[in-house]
């Protein structure tokens, strides 16, 4: 989407080549401003919903005209308590901060996968299925293989999980490239396959915890658990996620493959005419996308919990909604690796803080989902944000002459 806009806005500035880098800088600034104000708007709308839905505060609004102080005071109390506890839960202490990194890890990994596919013009809805495959087989290697040292076992778990994600994504790319099957439909179907496979396997003795007849997997070996800083939730997975950010940036910006991916994303026909093998790029992109989502799944079954100090056991909802949250992360991050990193950290912080918010302020965790959805909605509709906050539009026009003055 941002590509399209760049093309739209480029022509008027073209006749002054020397201002071009400044113009793109201002464009970037503007997009950052829209994102920032989208966040602010989302939190404002979230506050309004919070007040309307809170019965105690709502009651006070009932007699607003008789005693306005009550309603305003209670609303302020509610809003500030909610957001303060949200902040405390995500950045209020060292443990809270590491919880944020832990929550952000799968979002960043899967978000990168989705973002990469976006850049090639592919809409990967299948992050969920790819993550589930990564989780199933990563966990399987994690609890069946025994006696290996950590530096052999954990990489093996990661390798197998990522490989299964790669296959699950690659199949979609292959079907798209060879038969023209639409990747949206195919990935959704592949999600179902993965979910049902997980349900099926969890009823087989090989996947069930010893002595349990519930659908829950055994605890993975300690040698298949991500090492962590003691007493915190900061584990190796987060570093791997940061590494993945660098890797995806490198692929996109510094390799021929990256150039091809972007060319196919901008215009597959033109890319084909320029001699790019579009089928191959589609398959490879979907495979890498699936690999990253698969890694998010591996993270879900290898990241240690604070109180148990072992990872969550394999179970039906093991990956939560990673695959779908990742789409919002990729959208908010504008499909740029660094953007995905920041968006992942933001949503991770919201998820981490939601817990404290629920417990201290009694605000339902749905508020966090609502805020996330609103952020993405506003980011995806910049025109609406500018309509509500017209000064954003003004700054853009007033900024264009300024760089000239500075440049001169």
């Amino acid at each position: 989407m941002s590509e399209a806009k760049r093309v739209e806005e480029a022509p008027p500035k073209d006749h002054k080549p020397e201002t071009k880098p400044k113009a793109s800088y201002s464009k970037w600034l503007n997009s950052a401003a829209v994102t920032f104000w989208s966040l602010v708007l989302a939190f404002i709308v979230g506050s309004i919903v919070m007040i309307i839905l809170d019965p105690e505060v709502g009651e006070k609004w009932g007699y607003f005209f008789a005693r306005p102080g009550d309603a305003l005071g209670a609303s302020w109390e509610k809003i500030s308590l909610t957001y303060i506890s949200l902040l405390q839960g995500s950045f209020g202490s060292w443990v809270a901060f590491t919880e944020t990194t832990a929550q952000a890890t799968p979002l960043i990994l899967a978000g990168l996968g989705i973002a990469l596919a976006f850049r090639a013009g592919l809409f990967n809805i299948g992050g969920q299925g790819q993550a589930i495959m990564g989780a199933i087989w990563g966990a399987f290697i994690g609890f069946t293989v025994k006696g290996l040292p950590l530096f052999v076992h954990l990489p093996l778990v990661i390798l197998v999980g990522v490989a299964m994600g790669t296959i699950w994504g690659g199949i979609v790319g292959f079907l798209k490239a060879k038969t023209g099957a639409h990747e949206v439909i195919v990935t959704i179907m592949m999600n179902y396959l993965a979910v049902y496979l997980l349900q099926f396997l969890l009823q087989r003795p090989a996947f069930m915890a010893p002595g349990r007849n519930d659908p829950i997997g055994p605890v993975v070996e300690w040698s298949a658990t991500m090492p962590r800083l003691a007493g915190s939730r900061l584990h190796l997975g987060f570093l791997l996620a940061l590494l993945a950010v660098v890797l995806v940036w490198w692929i996109l910006e510094r390799t021929t493959l990256g150039l091809r991916i972007q060319a196919v994303g901008l215009n597959p026909h033109a890319a084909a005419v320029a001699g790019i093998n579009v089928s191959r790029v589609t398959i490879v992109t979907m495979a890498i996308s699936g690999a990253l989502a698969g890694m998010a799944g591996v993270n879900a079954v290898t990241a240690p919990e604070l109180i148990t100090s072992f990872p969550t056991q394999l179970s039906v909802g093991i990956v939560g909604a990673i695959g779908f949250d990742a789409i919002t992360v990729a959208l908010l991050g504008r499909s740029r690796p660094v953007g995905v990193l920041l968006a992942g950290l933001l949503f991770g912080a919201l998820k981490a803080g939601a817990r404290t918010m629920q417990v201290r302020a009694n605000t339902p965790s749905d508020l966090v989902d609502l805020i996330q959805a609103l952020i993405v909605l506003f980011v995806a509709a910049p025109a609406f944000v500018m309509w509500v906050l017209p000064f954003l539009r003004q700054r853009k026009t007033s900024r264009t002459p300024k760089p000239k003055a500075v440049a001169a």
Partner: protein, 379 residues
């Protein structure tokens, strides 16, 4: 610019007006504002108003749901009702947190420990390991877990289990006695032991009727011997109401005229199917008395297999508050009324001659052990 700001302002003003009906404020002397403010801030400095609740206000009971959430019309909700009842009757402070995914359980329990809860009730088998670890690390806090056994060597965690097969046996017997087509059906949300235990008991009840009364009633959807049957399945097996309706319709098309869905809220699909049959098909509800919890379907609910999770949770909290908490497992049975067959309500007059007496007799026989229920899922 100003114009659109005006628009936003107008919108805000309009919504403000819409919200603020001209209700009367409470009288000043009740000190309601200060009380509410301090309640939201979580402070315990209660003003004058709380005579009745003053005694136990420093005791805090907390609950962590599984990913179904507290509004699942099923076991999370029923357990939560126990917590609410404790708040009301014991005057204690309560707190609760909903989980949305498996990976949140451990952290959610931790957040309750951090809040200084005296007893933490966790709902569902999936929280077992996290509960056990938390109990070991926090010997001063009591724990109770719904639908799971007590942990070996942990003396501050109590398992709350329910032998739902016993009332389900009575339900199966009732269904066999009341069917007109000679076919009854059951289905589950997903194949969990806490689900199949109902179906086992139901199956055995039908068979017992066949043996003692010489009938040949057939059960569709579950076989106790094979331990397999019909399930909704899918992403959201306990929330998929259309899925429940489809499954029920399949059973109805094969001739079943009494259906017992064991699928939480998704079971409402079966109630819809029954209601649309125009009186031909009826249902038996589970977990709670469906005549009350799903009252819009009261006319098709013959009876319910009720599981008293609210009572068990309440009792665990009360015991913890009075320092009488033990790690001894609670097992709800017909004998201690932790499980029961709910009243027949609208069907009271349609019951076959002598059925109530027979059921009382069966209940006594189950309690005495004369009838042995063989479900492998029993606690």
């Amino acid at each position: 610019m100003k114009k659109s700001l005006m628009r936003v302002g107008a919108l805000a003003a309009a919504s403000l007006l819409a919200l603020s009906a001209c209700a009367e404020p409470p009288a000043e002397n009740t000190a309601a504002p200060t009380n509410d403010a301090s309640a939201t801030a979580g402070e315990s400095s209660a003003p004058a108003e709380t005579e009745s609740e003053a005694t136990n206000a420093d005791f805090k009971a907390c609950m962590v749901s599984d990913f179904g959430g507290f509004d699942d019309k099923s076991f999370n909700e029923t357990s939560y009702n126990g917590l609410l009842r404790a708040e009301e009757e014991l005057g204690i402070e309560v707190n609760e947190i909903e989980s949305n995914a498996e990976s949140e359980y451990a952290g959610n329990i931790q957040s309750m420990i951090d809040e200084g809860c005296n007893i933490i009730v966790t709902v569902g088998f999936a929280l077992a390991n996290a509960t056990e670890a938390a109990a070991k690390q926090n010997p001063d806090v009591d724990f109770a877990i719904v639908d799971f056994n007590s942990f070996e060597g942990v003396d501050n965690a109590k398992g709350l289990l329910f032998n739902a097969a016993q009332p389900a046996f009575l339900a199966g017997y009732t269904a066999a006695a009341m069917t007109e087509t000679g076919v009854v059906g059951t289905f589950g949300g997903a194949k969990y032991p806490t689900v199949t235990i109902f179906m086992d008991g139901f199956d055995q009840g039908v068979k017992y009727h066949n043996e003692t009364k010489g009938t040949d009633v057939q059960l569709l959807g579950w076989s106790e011997e094979a331990q397999d049957g019909q399930f909704i399945g899918g992403n959201d097996p306990f929330g998929d109401i259309p899925g429940g309706k489809n499954t029920a319709s399949t059973l109805i098309s094969q001739g079943a005229d009494i259906i017992m869905p064991v699928a939480g809220p998704a079971g409402q699909g079966a109630l819809q199917a029954a209601q649309e049959s125009g009186g031909k098909v009826n249902a038996i509800w589970v977990d709670t008395d469906g005549y009350e919890s799903a009252s819009e379907f009261g006319s098709v609910i013959i009876t319910s297999v009720a599981k008293g999770m609210d009572v068990a949770v309440f009792e665990a909290i009360e015991a913890s508050m009075n320092d009488e908490f033990t790690s001894e497992e609670y097992i709800g049975t017909l004998e201690n009324e932790g499980v029961a067959l709910a009243p027949f309500h609208d069907f009271e007059d349609d019951l076959p001659e002598g059925l109530t007496a027979e059921l009382d007799d069966l209940k006594a026989k189950i309690i005495s052990g004369e009838i042995e229920i063989t479900s492998p899922s029993q606690p």
